[in-house]
Structure formats: structure tokens, C-alpha cells
Symmetry: C2
Subunit: 636 residues, 2 copies
């Protein structure tokens, strides 16, 4: 019971199931919970483009803005697509549900596998990036980065286990602080760049970096594609809301869609703002200082606002990890619901959150942190790949759905496997947008896969099919279970034929074993006590006691087996197998096992645990009923 009190202190009072809809997020908290991942991308997305272009020298950085605009266009298209998804699939489920409904099982499982992996990576990468921000400030804690990252995961896990509303409130602070800080930076930067309101215009950086190489033709296009793909990290996390529609207050779909729009506007304003200023102030990426830091310093000086932006960059990166905590358990729920993942992922905990999914995510992301020693740079080649595959599948799905909707006449409705759709205007245009989006995201997926294959993308390319295989295996198991348990063609006569025999394996005659024998005598007239004698002394002593308690033991059959080895369970199991399979085939054989209950936790490890091991062995045979007769050891 002490454990319960401790759990209550940690997690809080349990909520009744009926309270479920109260534990929902409003739009303000929803934005903080779901949007910290895409918004935090602004900390590095522009830089990711420039980082590729710089090999052609600082002159080529001028391409950053067009590429950034292309990324922004793609983002808007994806967001548009997801708004459609939310409105058409108000029960949530994102890419998985859309693919399942429109493309079939296999594509939906591909999407699910890619997303699950990506959510785990979201947590590991974001936490590691946040820790890097911390260790940059305090280099003396660098050697403890793995521990710090694990503690951060523990903290986020704990907050999530306490419940979604509470975590929403806590997570809102750094997200909004980051948005405000960067927005102010951009506004000040623009004012000073254009010399508005009479301020002096900013002088441009004169730094010139010589090209490392010069490229033409396909090589040049490939480089642009790589730069574009780099910028596409801005897209990670966009799909979060579509999985989590059910986490919003009613009307869920409407609130989720509005939040999605707000997220898109905010994220793209920051992205374009940063990219515009970075290009026009001629910033050059360098190892020591991030573009965002250079930009803030240049636009606002190294003052209060600068530190504000730096601190909340670290803060929102930690919070971005939380997006994984929102999505992973929900997607796992959908998969478990369809029998592709273990059923316990469907269970809601004391606080109505998917506790098992949260803990599973924490374990996997902690493992990644340990394996990669909290180095997010090493993890990045694995990241974003899965998301692109999903976007592509999800938009392909929406393309298919829009095709069906386009055939509807005004007022007509259509019931798909999962949802109900109505006639709507402009479905043809929406369909074209989906097609373009799908092709572009698929291209980015291929580019990412090829350019990062060696550095780690191969792991993902390997993991996704393995996961899909696991999904199918799990489904197969559940099919087995439900078919075997099915009562459809059940002959009630054959439910249980119980053999009139009871076997009682004991090591010695004492209060515990006598109790078991006494219990067994109630069940059958054919009680067989089996004991293994490993030396002659044991045997004599046993027989002496057996005869002493003739009041109990009279009329029972005693199997006293002399055995010259130490694995006493083997002859016991052999005997029971013989009774079950030879003497009473196709009937249930009952075995009564006396069991110590030690006076305190842990004390069982002082014993040989023969009873526990025997039970484990007997469980391999389907027709053996095991009865544990407990005997409590008193504390003196």
C-alpha cells in the first residue's frame, strides 16, 4: 500500500473515466503542446539551408531566400493538407488513419512505423539539442550530458504522466517566450534594415567566404535539392496536431484546425523573417555561433533580448521533446486499437493519459540518448526521413479521398471505412494541391535517404520494414487468440473435462505442505504426494514424519523418488507429465503446490523458489491446473 501512496504523491489523485472530456486542451495550450516542435525548428532550419550552400562560397547564400520561400510554400501546402485531414477525420489519427482509409493496410503501417521512429527521435534529438544549449553555457557539465539528458526525459515523462492539462500550462511558457523573443528580433531587424522610423540602417557584414568547389548541371541541381532538403527540417512535427485532435476541447476538429492555422502562420512568419534577414544582412554560417544568435546579436545587440532568445531557444527545444510525448502514445493507441501493437498501449492511466505509451517512449528515447551519448548531430541523419514518408503517404491518401469527394453532388454524402464525407466545393483544386505536395515530399524523402544513407539513414530504411513485420506478427497473434477463445461453435460439454486426480509435489513435511495436502484431499480421492529424495537421510526423515501425521496422510499415494542429481524439478515434472498425458489424456490434471509467503518483500529470494520455478515449468503444458496453497511466514 505504501507504493500506492507514493504513486499518488508523484502522479496525483486518479481521475474517474467520466472526467475524460474535462482533461482537454484549449487552443492556447494546444498550440504550446503541439507546436513547440515545428516552431523550434526555426532555431536551425535557415542555417541548414545555408550550411549546404556555403560550399559554393558566400555569394551562393543569396539562394537561401528563394529556397526558404520554397520550403515555406511546401510547409503551407502540407499544413493545408493536414487541415483537410483534421476536418475529414475528426477522430484523429493523422497519416496512419488517412493511409488506412484510402491506400490500404500496408501503406498505413509504413506511415505508422516511420512516425513511431520519428517521435522517438524527436524526443532524443530535441533533448540532446537542449542539453547542448546548456553545456555551451556551462562547459564544466559537458561530461554529465548523458545524465542531464536522461534527467530531462525523466522530467518530461513525469509531467506527461501527471496529465495533459497540467503539462500544457507548464509547456506554454517557453514556447510563447520563444515566439515573442524571435518576433521582436525580426521586427527590430526589419526596422533597422529598412531604416524605418528614421533609425540608422544596419551595415551589412562584409565577410566573404571563397567557394570550396564550383558545380554545374546536375551536380548544382543536386546541391540545391540538398539545401532544400536541409530546410525541410522545418516540417518536422507539423503532423502532430492531426494525431492529437482528440486532445482538444470540443468542437475538437474545429479547434484543432484553428490551432493548425495559427501554428503555420507563426512558424512561417518566423522562418521567412529569419531567412530574409539572414540573407539581406549577409550572415555567414560558422561552427561557433548559430545564425539565429548572429542575427539576434546584430539586430538587437548583446543585451536583454539576446539572452532572452538564447535561453528560450534551449527552453523550446526541451519542449519540442514534448511533441513526441503527445503523438507517440496516441499513434500507439490507434495501432493497438487495430491490433498492430500490444493491447496495453490502449490503457489510460490514473490521470487518463496513455501511461504505457508515455513510458515506452521514455525508454526508447533514453536508449537512443545512451547509445548516441546525447549527441544530436549524430542522430540527425536518422531524423526527418520518416516524417517525409508520412507526409507523402498522407497527401497521397487525401488525393485519393478528394477524388472520391469530387464525384459527389451537392448534398450527397459518402461513408468510407473510417469517416463520413460530404460534397464540398473546390475539391478538384484541393486534389491538385495534394498531388503536388505528395510528389514534393516524396522527392525530399528520396533526397534525404540518398544523401544521408551512409551516415545513418540506412538504419531507418532497415527499421521501418522490421517494424511493419512486427505489426503483422502482433496482429496474427491476436487473431489466434480471438479465434481460439471464440465461443461461436462451442460445445459446452467439452469446455473442461477434469481428471479425478491431484498431484501434490512437496519437499518436506511441515505445516505448509500439510496444509496443501489437506486442501488436495477435498478435491479428489486420488491424491498423490510426490517427493524427491537426494540422499538416504532425507528419505528416512521424510518417511518418519509421513507416518507421524498418518491422520492426514492415510490413504494417500506417496511417490518417493530417489534421485542422484540436483535438479529435483525434472523428475517431478516428468511424473506430472506422465499422469497428464498417459493416465488421463485430454483431461485437466490438477497440481497443488504449497507456497511460502515470506514475512516481507525480498525475503523470497532467500529461498530456492522451487514452487515458482515449478509453476513456470508446468505452465508449458496446457492441461495442467495449478493450485497455489499459500502459507504465511510470520514475523516473530
Amino acid at each position: 500500500m505504501e507504493f500506492c501512496d507514493f504513486k499518488r504523491l508523484l502522479i496525483g489523485e486518479p481521475f474517474p473515466t467520466s472526467r475524460e472530456s474535462h482533461e482537454r486542451l484549449d487552443k492556447l495550450r494546444g498550440l504550446a503542446v503541439f507546436a513547440s516542435d515545428p516552431i523550434s525548428s526555426n532555431a536551425y532550419a535557415t542555417e541548414a539551408i545555408m550550411h549546404v550552400l556555403i560550399v559554393l562560397g558566400s555569394g551562393a547564400l543569396a539562394m537561401t531566400l528563394p529556397l526558404g520561400l520554397a520550403v515555406a510554400f511546401l510547409v503551407l501546402m502540407v499544413i493545408f493538407s493536414y487541415i483537410q485531414t483534421i476536418l475529414h477525420y475528426p477522430d484523429g489519427g493523422g497519416a496512419y488513419t488517412v493511409s488506412k482509409d484510402n491506400l490500404g493496410e500496408m501503406p498505413s503501417l509504413l506511415a505508422a512505423a516511420a512516425l513511431l521512429i520519428d517521435y522517438v527521435l524527436t524526443v532524443s534529438v530535441s533533448v540532446a539539442a537542449g542539453v547542448r544549449a546548456v553545456t555551451s553555457a556551462f562547459p564544466e557539465v559537458f561530461e554529465y550530458r548523458v545524465i542531464i539528458a536522461l534527467l530531462a526525459i525523466l522530467l518530461v515523462t513525469w509531467l506527461n504522466l501527471r496529465g495533459v492539462r497540467e503539462s500544457g500550462t507548464i509547456f506554454a511558457i517557453p514556447t510563447y517566450a520563444f515566439i515573442i523573443g524571435v518576433l521582436l528580433t525580426i521586427i527590430i531587424g526589419l526596422i533597422r534594415y529598412f531604416g524605418l522610423f528614421g533609425v540608422e540602417t544596419l551595415t551589412m557584414t562584409q565577410e566573404v567566404v571563397a567557394p570550396v568547389t564550383s558545380l554545374t548541371g546536375f551536380a548544382y541541381v543536386w546541391l540545391l535539392l540538398r539545401a532544400f532538403s536541409g530546410g525541410c527540417t522545418a516540417l518536422t512535427g507539423i503532423e502532430a496536431i492531426s494525431n492529437g485532435v482528440k486532445a482538444f476541447k470540443k468542437p475538437e476538429a474545429r479547434n484543432a484546425a484553428i490551432t493548425m492555422v495559427a501554428m503555420g502562420i507563426i512558424a512561417m512568419t518566423l522562418f521567412i523573417g529569419i531567412t530574409f534577414l539572414a540573407t539581406h544582412l549577409s550572415l555567414v554560417p560558422n561552427e561557433a555561433e548559430s545564425i539565429l544568435s548572429q542575427l539576434t546579436r546584430k539586430a538587437t545587440g548583446t543585451g536583454f533580448l539576446y539572452y532572452w532568445v538564447q535561453i528560450f531557444t534551449a527552453g523550446i527545444l526541451f519542449m519540442a521533446a514534448n511533441t513526441g510525448y503527445q503523438d507517440f502514445p496516441r499513434l500507439a493507441y490507434f495501432l493497438a486499437h487495430d491490433n498492430f501493437l500490444p493491447r496495453w498501449l490502449k490503457n489510460r492511466g490514473d490521470r487518463l493519459v496513455f501511461s504505457a505509451g508515455i513510458v515506452t517512449l521514455a525508454i526508447f528515447s533514453s536508449l537512443l540518448i545512451i547509445i548516441f551519448r546525447a549527441d544530436e548531430i549524430a542522430m540527425l541523419p536518422l531524423y526527418a526521413l520518416g516524417v517525409m514518408l508520412c507526409f507523402s503517404l498522407s497527401q497521397l491518401g487525401m488525393f485519393h479521398l478528394m477524388g472520391r469527394i469530387a464525384h459527389l453532388k451537392p448534398g450527397e454524402m459518402l461513408q468510407t471505412k473510417v469517416t463520413m464525407v460530404h460534397y464540398e466545393k473546390g475539391s478538384k483544386w484541393k486534389r491538385i494541391m495534394n498531388a503536388i505536395g505528395s510528389v514534393i515530399t516524396f522527392t525530399v524523402f528520396v533526397v534525404l535517404l540518398l544523401t544521408k544513407f551512409k551516415e545513418g539513414a540506412w538504419i531507418i530504411a532497415l527499421l521501418i520494414p522490421i517494424l511493419v513485420y512486427i505489426f503483422y506478427s502482433i496482429k496474427k497473434h491476436y487473431l489466434n487468440v480471438s479465434k481460439t477463445l471464440s465461443t461461436r461453435v462451442l460445445d459446452t460439454k467439452k469446455v473442461a473435462v477434469v481428471a479425478d486426480v491431484v498431484v501434490v509435489p512437496i519437499a518436506d513435511i511441515h505445516r505448509g505442505s500439510l496444509r496443501a495436502i489437506q486442501y488436495a484431499k477435498r478435491l479428489s480421492n486420488d491424491v498423490r504426494v510426490i517427493t524427491i529424495a537426494t540422499d538416504i537421510q532425507d528419505k528416512d526423515q521424510f518417511l518418519e514424519r509421513w507416518n507421524r501425521f498418518s491422520e492426514i496422510t492415510d490413504g494417500l499415494k506417496l511417490e518417493l523418488v530417489e534421485y542422484d542429481y540436483r535438479d529435483v524439478l525434472t523428475p517431478i515434472v516428468d511424473y506430472i507429465k506422465h499422469v497428464n498425458q498417459v493416465e488421463f489424456p485430454h483431461e485437466l490434471t490438477t497440481v497443488v503446490i504449497p507456497e511460502f509467503i515470506p514475512e516481507r518483500f525480498g525475503a523470497q529470494y532467500l529461498h530456492n523458489q522451487t514452487a515458482t520455478r515449478l509453476r513456470a515449468l508446468l505452465r508449458n503444458y496446457q492441461d495442467i491446473v495449478i493450485i497455489e496453497v499459500p502459507f504465511q511466514i510470520d514475523s516473530l
Copy 2:
């Protein structure tokens, strides 16, 4: 069954218990198995003395030989004492048994705790030192030293699990090779030093090291004591044979005693030889090269013999770890036999070795390797302390025993708690030797404790009392058990009063739960089926099925509990508690639990494991009999 085949391949065919006395060691193998620890001390004992003296400059190194002789004297005295121990306690047990028989329980447990800790350290320190020899030769594997050390422990563990005779044969090679190599070095060194047989005499080293400090009075004596204590590392492992008497062929005590004498002669010949030459060749300790290496090089040149000695130094250090494997499991056996350690440490495995003890030792020493990152220098301050405490206690015990023997007249006998002693000559002199030995070893213990307290000896000073406390707690538990189980004042009427009620908790109506219900109906007329409905749909569906199988369910009491939380086990346990404690107090309540048996290993983790968790919860109550009715899931 596959596991069994694998185990057989790894460990070998199981031996019958009756074969036990065949699995004994002859003297040649016994020496190799038990003496590798003390003999391997020669790799560093002389150096340990010189290392302290050098602060007074190279002139002070002349004190090495007298101090070495003092150590040798102490070693001979301890060996003498242990020969007495072996002859008077032919069943083995060493310091633990001697202290128990002569000084009482508490001193014997102190000795046991100290020894157990030391045996674990023997393994870790020896393996780490052996790995250092390897990484000195191949610096490129230095970063894998922890892994190499763990693999070495795994190897020694595996050899020991295969059985004592086999390991004896394998371990003999490096031990004897080391002895021969060092002996040859010493002989050649002496011949060349004295210019015997007309060889040219060796020139002495002219290296002079200036004193770091100069000491007088108590400080000087303290330094000599520290140097002496350093040399006392030569004593570690001496007690090994006394614990392992039973591992020898018959007559055990005689063979063990002869092996002990041989060990003493060999170890001290090497020690004095090395110390004499190191002093007279004016060797000076330095970080880069060990004294033994310098000595070998000087005496024999850097040729075949030099590499022979170096290689088998590493070899015998690995083998020294094996001494821990001989002693730890045996001492653990003695303690378990007296109920101070878990009983399973008494079990012999398939090959008649104390498998559980071997594995326990491997786990603890691996942990030390991991914690100290295979750095034996960091572990040394913890080492040798426990051994000295034991020597002191053991000799004090023999002092006491000799006092009782001194009172016997010729032909008289005396039965102590553990052994039988006879009149013997010279018991007074033996007694005086024991007294001196006890005082000196206790002094060394105190010096070691004080000089190394900060560097780690405090850990041992803390661990020993903690272990003693654990010993007592375990004994208390076993006393509880035997008193509670005792049949001495048993009223056979009260052995088991079984309540005429059966509770069947089920989640749903399917073949598995119907089978459990059917089984329950055989046991009582008062069968109560309890199920928890978490929503209204579940409830209706359940009732529909319940009524459909009225052939089985008719006449049973159905407890359908509506529950607004997700922890469905709580109301079930509450109900069963109510039946057990309120309706049928002081009687056995029977609970029938339907249990899936999945079609393959691991598949159970796909389920909620409600049955397993329910059983675990119910086990806290002493009057509840649990019946598991299995239902096998077929593979389709």
C-alpha cells in the same frame, strides 16, 4: 528444451551426486588452483615495500631485505597457523569456522564478511592487473580494458562452472610456468651476483635517488610500518586452502596441509630471492617498469626467459582470480549452511560445483570492474584489509583452541562445537606463535586501515558491519520460517479449514473463462463470478453472453461491478478481501483465475497480464488459494 541442450553444450553432461568424491583435486592441481594468488603476489610484493622506502632516497632501500624477511617470517607464521587449522578442522571453513568454534558468532561473522569482500576484490584486482599486463603490451586495446576484463571474468566463470578438476588442469599451466620462470631468474641472478662457476659478476646499478624527505622518531617507525604493510600483500590468498580442504582428494586434511607447506616454501623462496637480488643489485622502483621486470632483464637479459616471465606474470595474475572462485562459493556454502546467507548458495550445480556462488561472485566482481573501470590501482586500498582481519581472528581462535588442548593429558580427547581434538605435544609453543601472529596481523590491519582510510579503506570499514547485519537478518528470517512451519505442536484439525466458496474473476465470456467457471463449479456450490464493467457497452455485451451460456452459468452468482476508473484489479481484490475476511474469516478462500498460455514465448507481453498481476496482488493475503486454469492459444 532448447535451453537444456545449450546448457549441456556449455557446461557439459550433468554429474550424479554420488560422483562427488571423484571430482576432487590432487596435490599438484590443488597447488595450482589455490596457490596462484599468493604466488602471484611476488609480481608486486617486493616493489610495494620499496615504493614506500624510496621517499627516503635510494639509500633507504637497503631496508627492503630486513623488512622482506620480516614479511616472510609473518607469512611462515600464518602458514604454520593455517596448517594447524587444517589439521584441527578437517572439514574446512578456515577463519570463519575457527572463529565460530573458539571466539563466538560475532567474530566469525566479521571474519566471514571480511573474507567475502576480499574474495570479490581478489577477482577484480587480479583480472584488472592481468588486463594491465595485456594493455601494456598492446596499448591500442587500452580503451577496451573494461570489456576485456569482463570477458576474462566470463571465461574464468565458465571454466569454474564446468567443474573443479577440469579447471585445475587448465590453471596449472601458467602457475607452474611462472614458478619455473622466476626460479630460474633467481638462480641465474644469484650465480651471476656471486660470480659462481667462474661467471663474471654482475655490475650494480649506480642510480641514486635523492630523499624526498627525512624522517626521525615515530614518523620513521610509521614509514617502516607502512613499508612492511605494503609487503604484506604477499599474504593475500594464503587462507585459500583452509577453506577448500574438502576440494582435495582423500585424505583431505593431509593433502591440504602438504599443499600448504609446498605453497609456503615456493612463495617464500621466490619472495626472498627477488627481495635479496633487488636489494643487492640496487634496483630502484620506477613507474615505467616493475622491479620483477628490471630484475629479470638484469639477471638474464632481454631474451626468451625475460618474455617467458612477463607472459606468465600476466597469466598467473589471471589465474589468481581463480582463487576467489575456489573460496567465495565455499565460504558462502558454510555461511548458507549456518543460515547466514540464502540457502540456494548451498546448491551444487550440474557439475557438482557451487554454481550459485560462482555466478554471484562473477556478478559482484564484474560490478567492481565496471565501477572502477578495470583500474586495479584504485581498488588496491580496499584490498588486503579484510584478509588481515581474518588472519588475526583466525590466529586468535587457534590461540584459544591451543589453550584448551594444552590442558589435555596424553590420550585425552575433547569435542568442541565443530571438531574433535586430541592431546598433542608442543601446544604451548604453538599457542605462543599464534599469539604473536595474531598481534602482528592485527597491527598490520590497523596500519592498513589508517594509512589507506581516505583512499577507500573506509568503504570496507563500512561494508563489513553492513554485511554482518545482513547475515543476522537472514538468519532471523530462516528462524521465522522454521518456527512457523514447525510441526511440533500441530493440531491436525487446524491445518486447513477451507471455506465453501469460489470466486472467479473474469474480464469477458470466452472459451478460457468458461473453462475456469466449469472448473470452479466442481469445487463448491457457491461459485461467484465477478467482472468489472468500465462502460455501458461492455456491460450489455457481457450480460448477453452470460445468458447465452446459461447451461454453464445457471445458478452462479454474478457480481457485475460498474467502475469509473481504469485499475480494474482494485474492485476485484476488494471483493475477494471482503469474502475472505468478512464472510469467511480464518478460512481458506479459493479464487479461480483463467489464464492464457500464449502460443510462443514473449507473446504474453502483448496482453495486459491481468491474471499475473491479480495473482501477485492476492499473494499478499495468506488465506487465499489461487487456482490457475490454463487455456492454450493455438498457433493457426
